[in-house]
């Protein structure tokens, strides 16, 4: 019995096991009970592309990292304080992800000779002293789980599978989390299989009780709730936030939502969620390929609906031609690219920011379009609404960039008041907009709104507005096919001016400047958390550094030049080999300091701190607050 409870302000727990061990599930559960408990949190699922790589090998290790805290945090944490390792491979693969001195809970039963060999261990790390820098707890999780489940009559092989809940129970005890939410979850999840309810409940309780009664642990910990703003909160991943944002955009515009798509990692959860929301009038089509997915979405847009397609890098390659058609037709279309590591199949389950230039330039011909980038999992909700607003208002395809980290990572989200969300006006053409020489009414499909340069959107079904559009160059105003050289030049300019003019309708770039900073760190997308973390650390050390984060990647906010020119040093951290920095240099003729990583993982805060620090404190001052990158 432990009566010694130590309060921590934050803790980073990493669950690691075989792909089949259910680590994503327990990580997700631990996240949810911590969220309900009121902690601030951020998560990083980290799993292989293979559904079940060979069991017990390093290739097949799946991990889930969760950072919980009693204060506002912005990243899933650099290095974990606690590692739960279900087998030797999980231990081997994750030692680089944890801090020196970390606590390691291992499933001792899995450290047999065969498993050690599969993981590449010549000797047992639990015995050979190689883990001397860590506090290691050896817990026979498999056998304790099987023993706990015995009364249910379940076969040992089946009972063993509940060991992930044993591990969850143990960690639940260790961090003084409530048990009720997990018991309720088990009942719901296995509702149709009473025996599994029993087995998993017993395993979970056994893990919890093991912590409490085994005289192994000298101490339990507590992380108090964070002081969040008042309101109702939920825990949300980026993919769900995108799906809900699209439904919101549908409600706000009155346009029925149509999703044409094809399954692809890591975007498929958007399809899964929307397929389940048919009571919002949502129609989803899992098409025969990426091209058909975006084609069907464009067909729905032509029909006057909110046409959306979702994908990741390889799918973007395939959709390029249809996006170009949407651009030429000047019809609304929302294209969501959940970026992953590339090129080619690349790293399907990992995260990267390497599609920005493709979004900008990845089509033939002069083909500018608006680009929006989400900066956190919850922000995906608002970014999806904004992408839809731009698409509908300006009659254009819009690319929304998220990434694998945002898509699968979760954070607490204070639910917005639905009535505060901005309305989107589809502004359909209602009647003829011109007259011919004899005064007869005419409809010109390319007669633009002078303010937005948007053309009329006239879905079929209205008499008098019948018109034909297509991929061939359009004559200005009439929209008829035209090969006229002057007209082509004019149309290229008009399309570009329409997109550039969006800058007038978006907010200025906000700069967080404590005053007197000479250094600006400017980022985009999912690096918001890591950059914010690094900037906070530098400020905590007395450094003055400004931060700005772009949501609108094309066009940029109107004040961006003025912002960039205000600072002596502009640092651009990106998870690619330098894409935003090229856009900034090309457009504004400035020099930038580029910080790039290509490990298909979020930036470690310490790494950014180390890269930014010398520009703030001077070149000698290279020591960061926690020793920098390991």
């Amino acid at each position: 019995m432990v009566d010694n409870v130590v309060e921590l302000d934050r803790v980073i727990v990493r669950f690691a096991g075989d792909s089949g061990d259910g680590m994503q599930l327990v990580g997700d559960r631990f996240t949810n009970i911590s969220a309900i408990f009121g902690n601030d949190l951020a998560t990083l699922p980290d799993f292989p592309a293979e559904i079940r790589a060979p069991a017990g090998t390093v290739l097949g290790v799946s991990a889930f990292q969760v950072h919980i805290s009693d204060h506002d945090i912005v990243t899933p944490g650099d290095y974990a304080n606690v590692l739960v390792a279900m087998n030797p491979a999980a231990l081997s693969a994750n030692l680089v992800q944890i801090e020196k001195g970390a606590t390691i809970l291992v499933n001792e039963d899995a450290f047999d000779e065969r498993s050690l060999a599969k993981a590449g261990y010549g000797s047992n790390p639990l015995d050979d002293g190689s883990l001397a820098d860590y506090t290691v707890y050896r817990v026979p999780m498999t056998s304790l789980t099987v023993a706990a489940a015995k009364p249910t009559g379940a076969k040992p092989r089946d009972a063993e599978r509940a060991k992930n809940f044993f591990a969850l129970g143990l960690v639940t005890w260790m961090y003084s989390r409530p048990v009720e939410p997990t018991l309720t979850y088990i009942e719901q999840r296995f509702a149709s299989k009473p025996q599994l309810i029993e087995v998993n409940t017993l395993a979970f309780k056994a893990g919890f009780n093991f912590g409490e009664t085994a005289e192994l642990f000298g101490v339990a910990y507590q992380v108090k709730p964070a002081a969040h703003e008042p309101g109702t909160y939920t825990n949300i991943t980026g993919n769900i936030a995108v799906a809900w944002g699209l439904i919101a955009a549908s409600e706000l515009s009155g346009l029925p939502l149509f999703l044409g798509t094809y399954p692809i990692t890591p975007a498929s959860d958007i399809l899964h969620e929307l397929s389940n929301d048919r009571n919002f009038g949502v129609r989803t089509l899992q098409a025969e390929d990426e091209i058909a997915g975006v084609g069907a979405a464009l067909g729905a847009s032509f029909g006057g609906q909110l046409g959306v397609t979702t994908t990741s890098g390889p799918g973007m390659d395939l959709k390029a031609e249809t996006i170009g058609l949407a651009l030429q037709l000047e019809l609304p279309l929302v294209v969501i690219d959940v970026q992953r590591g590339g090129p080619s199949t690349g790293l399907p389950t990992k995260s990267e920011q390497s599609d920005l230039l493709m979004a900008m330039y990845g089509r033939h011909g002069e083909s500018p379009l608006p680009i929006v980038a989400a900066r956190s999992s919850a922000h995906c909700f608002f970014a999806a609404i904004e992408a839809a607003r731009l698409a509908v208002t300006y009659r254009t395809p819009v690319i929304l960039l998220t990434d694998g980290y945002l898509a699968n990572g979760a954070e607490p989200w204070k639910l917005p008041d639905v009535s505060d969300l901005p309305r989107i006006d589809p502004g359909f053409a209602e009647g003829p907009n011109a007259r011919d020489g004899e005064g007869n009414p005419l409809f010109y499909p390319y007669l633009r709104d002078p303010e937005t340069l948007a053309r009329p959107w006239a879905p079929p079904g209205v008499a008098g507005l019948e018109h034909r559009i297509g991929g061939l160059e359009k004559a200005d105003i009439s929209g008829n096919v035209s090969y006229d050289p002057d007209n082509h030049e004019k149309m290229v300019e008009l399309r570009a001016a329409k997109v550039a003019g969006i800058a007038r309708g978006i907010p200025d770039l906000e700069v967080d400047d404590p005053g007197g900073a000479a250094v600006l760190v400017i980022g985009w997308g999912s690096t918001y958390g890591s950059i914010t973390g690094a900037v906070r650390r530098i400020r905590a050390r007395g450094g003055s550094v400004a931060q700005a984060h772009l949501v609108h990647m094309n066009p940029f906010p109107s004040n961006i030049r003025e912002v960039l020119e205000r600072y002596e040093v502009v640092i651009v951290p990106e998870l690619n080999s330098g894409q935003l920095c090229r856009m900034l240099r090309a457009e504004f003729g400035i020099t930038t300091v580029d910080v790039n990583r290509l490990q298909a993982q979020p930036f470690k805060v310490a790494y950014l701190e180390e890269k930014i620090g010398p520009h703030v404190f001077g070149p000698e001052s290279t020591v960061s607050s926690n020793g920098g990158k390991r």
């Binding site: 009121g38 109702t232 515009s253 089509l285 025969e288 079929p460």
Partner: protein
């Protein structure tokens, strides 16, 4: 805001009302002209409205078709018309959506979309202009060109076994499959009418002459003087026979196929009786294999016309069922549908 098709009584129209003001720019003598005329003459008879009618095409000579119609229309990208039309038909079941495509567009670059559209049974009327050649790119072989065809890209003869579009459609679970040709306006109009009235995906293969790059490809079977002996009209419920005096006919060959016989040799009772509505497409498929190219007697007309649930109807049913079960969508409720907690 949702746009829906207008519903008051349909005004009387003539062919002229369905033609746009754009000058038709196919080569003089092209078979496309007669297909355009057939469609424009048929539409006034269908009881449909211009504003509720949409033509969607891909790329190729045939794909210019929508520009010549005074309806809504889209000239899209190569091969993708069935996919785009699918999105339109599923989201706007109130519209009458036609797809105009060619052999290269539908069967080469767009083959995937064509087969999946048919198996899903989306409510589309697909007109496949088959001239067995690439016209717009000036004379390369197509997926329906005969084996060994000499073209600019196959100076030593093409090595590709051609597709038989009717066989392909039947294999792709199509619920309506027909064939007609550009030399017989009445037959075209009747076939298009049937295809339009079918609820689901309808595919009509139209033998169409390209007088520039593949002139006379079908003249051995569609020429006025040879038609009677070379075209085998398929009529539901009737024995399959042809010839000026109906002297030839089609019988089952006992090995899963069909063959041509002299009626006098076997008697009329031995002929197969055409059944468009047969659930099993085997006999329709056998008929589609009767001719390997437009050089021997070839069946035309409706091969298959069966009732199968239409995709858009089923999708709409799922939406209705979800609303009936969960109530109409409530955004605030959706956002708080996961675990939530309140911070005071």
């Amino acid at each position: 805001m949702t746009v829906t098709a207008s519903e008051s009584s349909v005004p009387v129209t003539t062919r002229k009302d369905w033609a746009s003001d754009q000058e038709v720019r196919w080569c003089p003598g092209c078979g496309d002209y007669s297909i355009l005329t057939a469609v424009q003459m048929l539409l006034p008879e269908l009881g449909v409205r211009r504003e509720n009618t949409v033509f969607i095409s891909g790329i190729g000579c045939a794909a210019r078709f929508p520009y010549y119609m005074s309806t809504y229309g889209m000239h899209s990208i190569h091969g993708r018309a069935p996919a785009i039309a699918t999105g339109l038909a599923l989201s706007r079941p109130d519209l009458d959506v036609w797809v105009v495509s060619g052999d290269g567009d539908a069967l080469s670059i767009g083959g995937n979309h064509l087969i999946h559209t048919m198996r899903r049974n989306v409510n589309l009327t697909i007109l496949l202009f088959n001239n067995q050649i690439y016209g717009l790119t000036k004379g390369q072989f197509s997926p329906t060109s005969e084996l060994g065809k000499i073209t600019k890209s196959t100076p030593f003869g093409s090595l590709d076994t051609p597709f038989n579009p009717v066989s392909l459609a039947l294999g792709a679970e199509a619920s309506f499959v027909a064939r007609t040709h550009d030399m017989d306006r009445k037959h075209m109009m009747e076939t298009f009418r049937r295809a339009h009235d079918h609820h689901g995906a309808s595919l009509v293969e139209i033998y169409q002459n390209c007088n520039v790059f593949n002139d006379g490809a079908f003249e051995h079977i569609t020429g006025k003087d040879v038609r009677a002996s070379m075209l085998i009209p398929l009529e539901h419920g009737k024995p399959v026979r042809f010839g000026a005096d109906g002297e030839r006919g089609v019988v089952a060959d006992g090995r899963g196929g069909v063959s041509i016989v002299n009626v006098a040799d076997v008697g009329e009772d031995a002929l197969i009786v055409h059944d468009e509505h047969a659930e099993n497409p085997a006999l329709a498929f056998a008929l589609s294999r009767l001719a390997t190219g437009p050089h021997s007697p070839t069946p035309i007309g409706v091969f298959r016309d069966v009732v199968r649930p239409e995709y858009g109807d089923q999708l709409a049913d799922q939406v209705d069922a979800a609303i009936a079960k969960k109530g109409p969508g409530d955004l605030a409720a959706l956002l708080s549908s996961g675990a939530t907690w309140v911070v005071e």
